[in-house]
C-alpha cells in the first residue's frame, strides 16, 4: 500500500513542486500522468526512497519512509520495491542470470533456483539465462529488466516511462507483460508516463498538474 500526504519537494534552484495526496491499495495498478517537468520522475524517486529531503509524508506498507535512515532505506527499497527505468540499465559485465542474482544479493534476500526459472520462463527468456547482456535484443533486454524488477516479489513496482521509446506493437507487449507479471506476483504497479497509448490499459490514474 502506498499513501502520500502533504508531499512537496524543493530543488535548490527551482520553485518547489507540490504533489496531490493519494492512496494506492495493495494490488491496484495506477498510471502517473503529467507533462514533462511536472515532477513524475521526482515523485517516483521519492516513493522509491531514491530521493530524500522532501516535506510531507510517504507511507509504504505502513512504513513512513522519512523515518528511516539511509541504510535502512536502502534495505527497505531492495526488499519491497522493484524499479523499471526508461532505459534498461542492465549491468553489462554480468550475464542475464547474474543480473537477477545481483538484485537478491543486494537486497539480502534468498533466491531459489525455481524462482529464477519461473520468472525467466514467464517472460519468455529462459533460454537466455547464461547470455551476455550485450548479446540481447532491445526487447529481450527490456524483459530482463522486468524480470530483475520482480525477482524478489516486490510489493510495489515503479516503472518510469517504460514504453516511451517503443513502437506501438512493442508498447502493447510490454504493458501487457508488466500487468501480467505484477498480477502474478501480487504487486502494485505504478507507471509514470506521458505515453497516451497506456491510458486505455490501466484505468486508475494520478494526474500531476504543474
Amino acid at each position: 500500500m502506498v499513501s502520500v500526504s502533504g508531499l512537496s519537494y524543493k530543488f535548490s534552484a527551482a520553485p518547489g513542486i507540490s504533489f496531490p495526496d493519494f492512496t494506492v491499495k495493495s494490488g491496484e495498478h495506477f498510471l502517473l500522468l503529467g507533462e514533462s517537468g511536472s515532477g513524475k520522475t521526482t515523485l517516483l524517486h521519492m516513493l522509491g526512497g531514491l530521493l530524500r529531503n522532501y516535506s510531507g509524508s510517504i507511507r509504504i506498507n505502513d512504513v513512513a519512509l522519512e523515518t528511516l535512515n539511509e541504510h535502512r532505506l536502502d534495505k527497505f527499497r531492495g526488499q519491497n520495491i522493484g524499479f523499471i527505468f526508461q532505459r534498461n540499465h542492465l549491468i553489462s559485465a554480468l550475464t542475464v542470470e547474474q543480473n537477477l542474482l545481483m538484485h537478491s544479493y543486494l537486497a539480502a534476500l534468498p533466491l531459489h533456483a525455481e524462482r529464477m526459472e519461473e520468472v525467466l520462463r514467464s517472460l519468455g527468456i529462459a533460454d537466455k539465462r547464461k547470455s551476455n547482456i550485450s548479446h540481447l535484443s532491445q526487447g529481450q533486454a527490456q524483459r530482463v529488466a522486468i524480470a530483475r524488477a520482480v525477482i524478489n516479489k516486490p510489493s510495489i513496482i515503479f516503472a518510469d516511462e517504460p514504453t516511451s521509446a517503443l513502437d506501438d506493437r512493442h508498447c502493447d507487449n510490454v504493458i501487457s507483460l508488466l500487468i501480467d507479471v505484477a498480477n502474478k506476483n501480487q504487486s502494485t504497479l505504478l507507471i509514470a508516463t506521458h505515453d497516451q497509448r497506456l491510458k486505455d490499459r490501466i484505468e486508475r490514474k494520478i494526474i500531476l498538474t504543474h
Partner: protein, 415 residues
C-alpha cells in the same frame, strides 16, 4: 552472487585494460623480487663464507682481490708469501688461529686448496662419505664438486695448473678422492681440499722433488702452519693466511703490523665486502628505481582505469543502489577492484621473480655454484604483498569517494 563475482566480472569485461595493469605491476614486482632474493642470498653467502675470518694476510696487491680470491674463491691470487713470514706473523699474540691456504691448481675449474683440517672446521664441514685427506695427493671434495664434476670415492684425477680449465695438466701426479663432504651451502661445496704439501709436490720440478721437505731432524723446529716443514725453511711459499683475532684490539693493531712488512698485506673481509657492495650498489639502485617507476606507472594506470570506469558505471551504480545496495557496498566494490588488480599483479610478479631465478639457477652454472636458488622465501615478500594491496586501495580511493557521493536520483533521471 557476491561483490567479488561482480568485481571479477568487471575486470573480465575489460580484458586488455586489466591485463596491461596486471602486467605492468607484475614486471615491477618481479624485478624487485629478483633483486631482493639475489641480494639477500648474496649477503647470506658472504656472511657464511667469511664467518670466523677476521683478516686475510697475503701478498701485496689489491685488498679486494685478496678477499675475493681467498675467501670467495672467485678472483686470482695476488701472489705468494713466504711460509716463514706467515709463520712468524701467526705467532703474534693478537692471533687466536691462523689457517694457511695454498692455491694454484684446479680440476674442471674447481679449485684445489692446500690447507689443513681447520679450514674445513671453519665451515663446520662434515663428511658424507669416506675420510678426510691425510697423506699427500689425497683430497676431500665439496658436495657440488662431487655432483657436478662427477667425482666418486677413490676416483683419480689430474689437476690443471691455474684456476681455469685451459691450464697445463700436471700429468705426472694424480690426486685420489678420499672423501666427500656434506653440503654446507658455503664456498666449501665448490672446493677440493688437500694438504699444502700436495700443492708443492705438483709444482716442484723433477730436480728438486727429490729433496724431501720433511728433514726430520730432532734439533729442527717445525713450522706451526705446515708441521712437516722446518721453521726456518726459506723456499716454501703459500698463498695466504686466514686469521682469527684473539681480541677486538687486534683489529686495530694487526693490520698495521702486517702492512708494515714490505711483502705482506692484510685485508679485512667485512671492510672489503662492504666496499664491493657500495660499488655494486649504484647498479642495484638504478635497477630498483626502474622497478619503482614501473610500479608507479601501473598504479597510475589502475587509477585512470578505475576513474574512467566510474563514468561508464554511473548507471550501474545507481541501479545497484535502487536494488538495495548501500553506499558503503559500492565503495567496498571499488576498493576490492583496486585491491584485486594489484594483488593479482603482485602475486604474478612474485611468481615471475622466483621463476626467473629458478630458471637462472638451473641453466647458469655460475649461479648454481654460488648456491643462489629461486625456491626460497623471505619475510620481505609479505611486505611487498601488503604494499601492493595498499597501493591498489589507494588507487581506488578517489573513485570510491566519488561513488559514495553519487546522487542516484539525478543519475537515474538522466540529469
Amino acid at each position: 552472487m557476491n561483490l567479488f563475482i561482480l568485481v571479477w566480472s568487471y575486470l573480465k569485461a575489460r580484458p586488455l585494460n586489466t591485463a596491461i595493469n596486471i602486467v605492468l605491476l607484475a614486471l615491477g614486482i618481479a624485478v624487485i623480487t629478483i633483486l631482493l632474493l639475489f641480494k639477500n642470498q648474496l649477503d647470506q653467502k658472504i656472511n657464511e663464507n667469511s664467518k670466523g675470518i677476521d683478516l686475510v694476510i697475503g701478498a701485496k696487491g689489491s685488498p679486494l682481490q685478496l678477499i675475493l680470491c681467498n675467501i670467495f674463491h672467485v678472483d686470482f691470487p695476488t701472489g705468494n708469501i713466504k711460509l716463514k713470514e706467515a709463520d712468524r706473523i701467526s705467532k703474534n699474540r693478537l692471533i687466536k688461529a691462523a689457517i694457511p691456504l695454498a692455491l694454484g691448481d684446479s680440476y674442471n675449474s674447481y679449485r684445489i686448496i692446500g690447507t689443513n683440517i681447520r679450514y674445513a672446521e671453519l665451515y663446520q664441514a662434515q663428511l658424507a662419505q669416506g675420510i678426510w685427506w691425510k697423506n699427500n695427493l689425497e683430497v676431500t671434495v665439496g658436495a657440488n664438486v662431487a655432483l657436478l664434476a662427477r667425482l666418486q670415492l677413490d676416483d683419480k684425477f689430474t689437476s690443471a695448473h691455474g684456476l681455469t680449465q685451459e691450464g697445463h695438466a700436471h700429468i705426472e701426479h694424480q690426486y685420489v678422492v678420499k672423501g666427500i663432504m656434506r653440503k654446507t651451502n658455503t664456498v666449501l661445496d665448490n672446493l677440493i681440499l688437500t694438504n699444502v704439501e700436495s700443492i708443492w709436490e705438483m709444482h716442484e720440478t723433477s730436480a728438486d722433488s727429490v729433496a724431501p721437505y720433511n728433514v726430520k731432524d730432532s734439533a729442527t723446529l717445525f713450522s706451526s702452519l705446515v708441521p712437516s716443514v722446518a721453521a726456518d725453511d726459506s723456499v716454501k711459499e703459500i698463498t695466504s693466511l686466514l686469521v682469527k683475532y684473539r681480541s677486538p684490539m687486534a683489529a686495530v693493531q694487526l693490520p698495521r703490523i702486517v702492512n708494515a712488512q714490505s711483502s705482506l698485506q692484510a685485508a679485512s673481509p667485512a671492510f672489503e665486502t662492504a666496499r664491493l657492495f657500495s660499488i655494486l650498489g649504484v647498479g642495484v639502485d638504478v635497477i630498483m628505481a626502474f622497478a619503482y617507476v614501473l610500479i608507479l606507472i601501473s598504479a597510475l594506470s589502475i587509477f585512470i582505469a578505475l576513474y574512467n570506469s566510474l563514468k561508464e558505471r554511473r548507471y550501474d551504480m545507481a541501479v545497484m543502489r535502487s536494488m538495495g545496495a548501500s553506499r558503503s557496498k559500492l565503495v567496498v566494490s571499488l576498493l576490492t577492484e583496486g585491491g584485486l588488480l594489484t594483488l593479482l599483479g603482485c602475486l604474478i610478479g612474485l611468481l615471475l621473480g622466483h621463476g626467473v631465478l629458478m630458471i637462472l639457477s638451473s641453466v647458469v652454472e655460475q649461479t648454481q655454484k654460488a648456491g643462489i636458488t629461486g625456491i626460497i622465501f623471505y619475510s620481505e615478500e609479505w611486505i611487498i604483498l601488503g604494499g601492493s594491496l595498499l597501493l591498489g586501495l589507494l588507487c581506488a580511493l578517489i573513485p570510491a569517494v566519488q561513488a559514495y557521493r553519487t546522487d542516484i536520483s539525478s543519475v537515474l533521471a538522466g540529469n
